[in-house]
Chain length 121, copies 2
């Protein structure tokens, strides 16, 4: 798949809330995922598909998603950017909030090998 | 200015090739600019408006711009992303090439305080 094809598929799956399916279909086993900031005692960076899936599973288990909108993609060579706008409840605290972030992805050989998220904390 | 207003103005100025004007109008004195990779012997990061202007002036002096297209912006909270597609000649080597990159910006108090570029090298 070209960068644009990967980007379009990511947007389609994530728009439907199918984050896990997007990871399964599009991510390299060597994926590196970078957050805007580190969790307490943790790292900004998750390396490898197992660590990235674990991060996604923790997120899905702890958030109820009321709505998700994905804007983009903007594609440039091996990279693309999208925007996520989510309305979620953080279940452990029953706290509902809206989050908006820019996500940038790098594609090599038809798979996403790097992702980075930009948001204010 | 809101993030969207800053983003729209950046897109407008850069689409016209007015990169210097964009820096003058929109950048914080405390701007941090991050390239995808470091130049030989240099750093990925330029800190402060003087260093960022110097980087821009070097670039402008060494490249002839045949065309520039800016796609976006995608806006999320304090951040936005655009794509640059340029057709340029690197003057010292008379080497013409096309470059495509994703750029991500962070806006605080109506000024750009952070920019990062994503491209393959």
């Amino acid at each position: 798949m070209t960068t644009k094809e990967v980007a379009d598929k990511l947007v389609k799956l994530c728009s439907q809330g199918k984050f896990h399916e997007a990871t399964e279909a599009l991510y390299s086993t060597d994926i590196v995922s970078m957050e805007a900031g580190a969790p307490p005692g943790g790292s900004r960076e998750a390396k490898g598909i197992a660590a990235v899936k674990a991060k996604g599973e923790w997120w899905s288990a702890n958030h109820e998603v009321h709505s998700v909108a994905v804007e983009g993609p903007l594609v440039a060579g091996s990279h693309f950017a999208v925007v996520f706008k989510l309305d979620v409840t953080f279940k452990p605290q029953s706290k509902r909030f809206k989050m908006e972030e820019v996500a940038v992805y790098k594609v090599v050989d038809g798979k996403i090998v790097y992702e980075e998220f930009f948001y204010s904390m």
